[in-house]
Symmetry: D3
Subunit: 239 residues, 6 copies
Amino acid sequence: MRPSGRKFNQLREISIEPSILKHAEGSCIVKFGNTHVICSASIDESVPRFLKGRGNGWVTAEYGMLPRSTKERMQRESSNGKQGGRTLEIQRLIGRSMRAAVDLKVLGERQIYIDCDVVNADGGTRTAAITGSYVALHLAIRTMMDKKIIRTNPLIAQVAAISCGIYKGKAVLDLDYAEDSAAEVDANFVFNQKGNLIEIQGTGEESDFTTEQLLEMLKIASDGCSELFRLQNQVLLQL
Amino acid sequence: MRPSGRKFNQLREISIEPSILKHAEGSCIVKFGNTHVICSASIDESVPRFLKGRGNGWVTAEYGMLPRSTKERMQRESSNGKQGGRTLEIQRLIGRSMRAAVDLKVLGERQIYIDCDVVNADGGTRTAAITGSYVALHLAIRTMMDKKIIRTNPLIAQVAAISCGIYKGKAVLDLDYAEDSAAEVDANFVFNQKGNLIEIQGTGEESDFTTEQLLEMLKIASDGCSELFRLQNQVLLQL
Amino acid sequence: MRPSGRKFNQLREISIEPSILKHAEGSCIVKFGNTHVICSASIDESVPRFLKGRGNGWVTAEYGMLPRSTKERMQRESSNGKQGGRTLEIQRLIGRSMRAAVDLKVLGERQIYIDCDVVNADGGTRTAAITGSYVALHLAIRTMMDKKIIRTNPLIAQVAAISCGIYKGKAVLDLDYAEDSAAEVDANFVFNQKGNLIEIQGTGEESDFTTEQLLEMLKIASDGCSELFRLQNQVLLQL
Amino acid sequence: MRPSGRKFNQLREISIEPSILKHAEGSCIVKFGNTHVICSASIDESVPRFLKGRGNGWVTAEYGMLPRSTKERMQRESSNGKQGGRTLEIQRLIGRSMRAAVDLKVLGERQIYIDCDVVNADGGTRTAAITGSYVALHLAIRTMMDKKIIRTNPLIAQVAAISCGIYKGKAVLDLDYAEDSAAEVDANFVFNQKGNLIEIQGTGEESDFTTEQLLEMLKIASDGCSELFRLQNQVLLQL
Amino acid sequence: MRPSGRKFNQLREISIEPSILKHAEGSCIVKFGNTHVICSASIDESVPRFLKGRGNGWVTAEYGMLPRSTKERMQRESSNGKQGGRTLEIQRLIGRSMRAAVDLKVLGERQIYIDCDVVNADGGTRTAAITGSYVALHLAIRTMMDKKIIRTNPLIAQVAAISCGIYKGKAVLDLDYAEDSAAEVDANFVFNQKGNLIEIQGTGEESDFTTEQLLEMLKIASDGCSELFRLQNQVLLQL
Amino acid sequence: MRPSGRKFNQLREISIEPSILKHAEGSCIVKFGNTHVICSASIDESVPRFLKGRGNGWVTAEYGMLPRSTKERMQRESSNGKQGGRTLEIQRLIGRSMRAAVDLKVLGERQIYIDCDVVNADGGTRTAAITGSYVALHLAIRTMMDKKIIRTNPLIAQVAAISCGIYKGKAVLDLDYAEDSAAEVDANFVFNQKGNLIEIQGTGEESDFTTEQLLEMLKIASDGCSELFRLQNQVLLQL
């Protein structure tokens, strides 16, 4: 029995409200239960130094949490003077996942900045962030097409992510904080719409895990992402 | 004629939605037209070092902007490694304004952390932040009273703030970004519910200003804050 | 009765010794009683990035305190790794005030760096710094004219600043540390030689204040600055 | 055909030279082909703040690269003023992996610091670091037992790690830099001696991957780690 | 022939004005020609962590330059975010030199902070700083004796410093900037009143140097410091 | 009697193993007894900003210690966020010493980066680092000549360094940690192959020292460096 009463393979209530930022080329607020993340995609007509003059584009991401998104107030990373290891790890993951959605050659020598800011945190912020970032990215590219900044659509994949865990010996989907903090194994899966993996990260700090358990998690994660793809499309089609 | 079509002494449409953060003792999102700020108040059962052992409390504030709250994406201060001068200046102002609302002796040796995070910026973020912070602060103190953490209410004043400017030679209230960037003089006023000043800041970088112009601004700011006190109370009474 | 025995509208003894730095284009040490500040103006033949190629100049300021300018030794900001909020706030104020003295178009695409370093602190360092900075700025511009770096004088206003406060219920001028730390209200006024305001900052952290009190302070500040303009001119004319 | 001529499931030549640091409680230099990492384990009789007074121990890790361990000289992170995201990600992984080897309750309120410094880098530095860190950790615990700092051995698992990738469509083991930079999919596996997973990380930035491909990699990684366990034991038994 | 017309073993005009800082326990401004340094000594009733509870005192130093003490304006180290290597090197030298003047056991568990701030720089700032710091230190210890903070005088040596160089093949004393920047060898000597060495630093970046040249410099440095001891005593006796 | 049983003018066992880094243009590991330092020289086809466009080259150095090179684990400077004063002082010394070996005009507009990383520390790391850096530098220049990056050999001197001290009243050579921490005077000497000085640094924090003692140290240091030149050449000739 899960703390939330959900079935082992049941997502929390998911919603995606698009275009909530006045200035961003693409944005949304994504909610996985009580986890709420503002995602935006910003177009920047320059690229990082290492890409200058090659004609290729780039997609990068930054992640932050509002100080009181958490149970105890966290110190603001800007006043702390640096981003923590967890923050850097998550934003690198979001960046890789979004680059998997875009043909960087077709994008051309420009950059898309993804920003994910957590307003309320209740477990699974990174997978919610990826799922919302895809919507923001998609909308930003639509803006670029509408404004004829680019002629060819550089989107090559639809991307979503979900967490799984081994909780009391059993694979469960989309852990909230109560489960997450008690789970033996914690894993995150990023899929594309073909059902193939973009990224997998699994950690058994409290307990090791077997290939069978990994496959159990993989199965319900894959199904969960199918549902997320449906929700993303529902939002993107209605605009 | 103002760009927005408003009268010289007319506020933008103001709304305050309370308790939007799951974990904070007090919170709201305040909207002055297209300027949207999430404000929270967090109780911390310790005080800064310089106050240890004196029995007095403290109220402090931090301010930040989501990278894409602005027309051009701003660099995230946490990745930049420090808070800029404007950020520090604003959060010091918010902190002083909120301390004017609280009897720190009655609060006892604990601290209230105010966090203001701008989601959308269209001028007047600091005055919107102060106006919303008072609501978050009030709710956090209500939480403390309900939980019997304190027995006596430490609130001694109601506080709100509004910007004014000299725009095309005339005093106008609550400038949006279009006016703000073209105004000759820019001023911010923090009032308490008695109509007395808590703080005044006026800058004439583009033009000097006279005592008469200062008094014109002061008059419409005072009236504007009366309206803000009414709106704060409406929200606080309905809870 | 003021701790120093001065009348409510009486300045401390003021002196300005010009050209005390061997290398600077303009410099002085300004003394308001026991508050001593070294001010310099340095010409830099480049401008900040945001102004490149526009033909306009810039004036900016930095402020610091010698570690033992204060009663208790302060930590050196360079060894602390950053400038504090108060420092940034003050140097932004000095920069704005000095820009109000200069036609940046006439200055041309170059920058004047104002540096204010407090040797002894006894209240009112920021207003002493502004008053001294104008002298340093004036001398630096004279150097530029003498060296024919510019042909037209870009000075458009004379600028001075003074602090006021409400001390035991009454407006007083040019507070020293003893008064400053006990005052109910603390305000700083920057004027130009026409008697118009460049900047006003008033804070009532210990007590609110009325429009009448603000006007009282404004009146004695305006008179105090007239005296400061006379002293600045006396120094500038004798060179 | 692999660039190195190795079979798809063949490790590079591996060696582990123990006790190369004069002062460390445990240390080794581990070599996976041309990837050389100095690993040390240091005993610290204090714990991080969040563990104070709970009686539990901690294991943490730090990772660095000599500036010229790489083809192009890298900027030294200490002169750069911060550790990069990749560094933090890797040292967090090493820390989690080593904690999986230790019963933190039995360790008692003390900390073991793992340091991994890359002398030569040719792909797979993080997995070499984990494999070597286990040896350093084991030796440090042996030191603690010998010195009677602890009476019960807190080691609960043997840990090793190896990288795999999909290179030209096929799963290959222990990628060197030439393969790593051309691989479609890059994954790292941390196993314990029971053949169970401690951690899995797989990224398909250049290409997505299927469950079947994941299982292929998992299989050869598991076999590779068996060989690593044998080599670790060979070193540890001869001391 | 020296640029300044001085003899090879002739000091610049030296002056020491004591007690120029209102708050410091000991202070002076020392002038070696156009090199002017404000030195202060501050008593701190705590010691660095590594000395806690041992009963011994400590003397430490910090050094800084006003941004426009130099020909070209230097970036302020506080706004740069760190002290440069040259600054750290110099303040470590000053600290060691002052510790050589004090019996740290007799000083007791407290610390003396030396601050040296260069107002005008024309070569030899570090040796001027040491020479002035001794005066500030001496005065601070006199303050401690007068206030009966300590009963026994902890001063065990008088300390002064001077620079020498090989300029056009010949040893010269107390180089100004014109000589310093053209000298083949640059050296600094710290002596005590017995004529013994506390510290020697000699660098031949432009040219190597022989033992004979070193001894030549040593001789005139020793004589120069005798003169500095006389000047220090003259100042200290008249107070 | 020295703790190590060595004669007063006897070096520790010295060895230099060249070319231990796979990627560096020149490298070695140098051992002075239990002090082991990895030195590398890297060619960089650009120069620091202050040298751009002048046709001259540059040699610079960085120094670091592995966290567990010391008896107690040191905090990693990269995680500490900055290099300490001792580190900066040492790397500036290494840089100056290596520049004395090279004609920067002949080197041409490029830079050689020297990196010294201490693996085991037992006193004298900076002098070992200089002695090893010369070998790395020499090998890197040989690489440049072999690759015809330069046609003329820019080496103008051979450089080595050794420490001396006054230990129990007597001058001794090449102090290990046991002696170093108990010595009254500590000095470092950098010589070229002509027997002339490049740099001298002597500190008497525990005790002053006389010219005679300085000369005693100078004599045995000079003889010690002759031996180091022989060892360097032996290594360089066999390659």
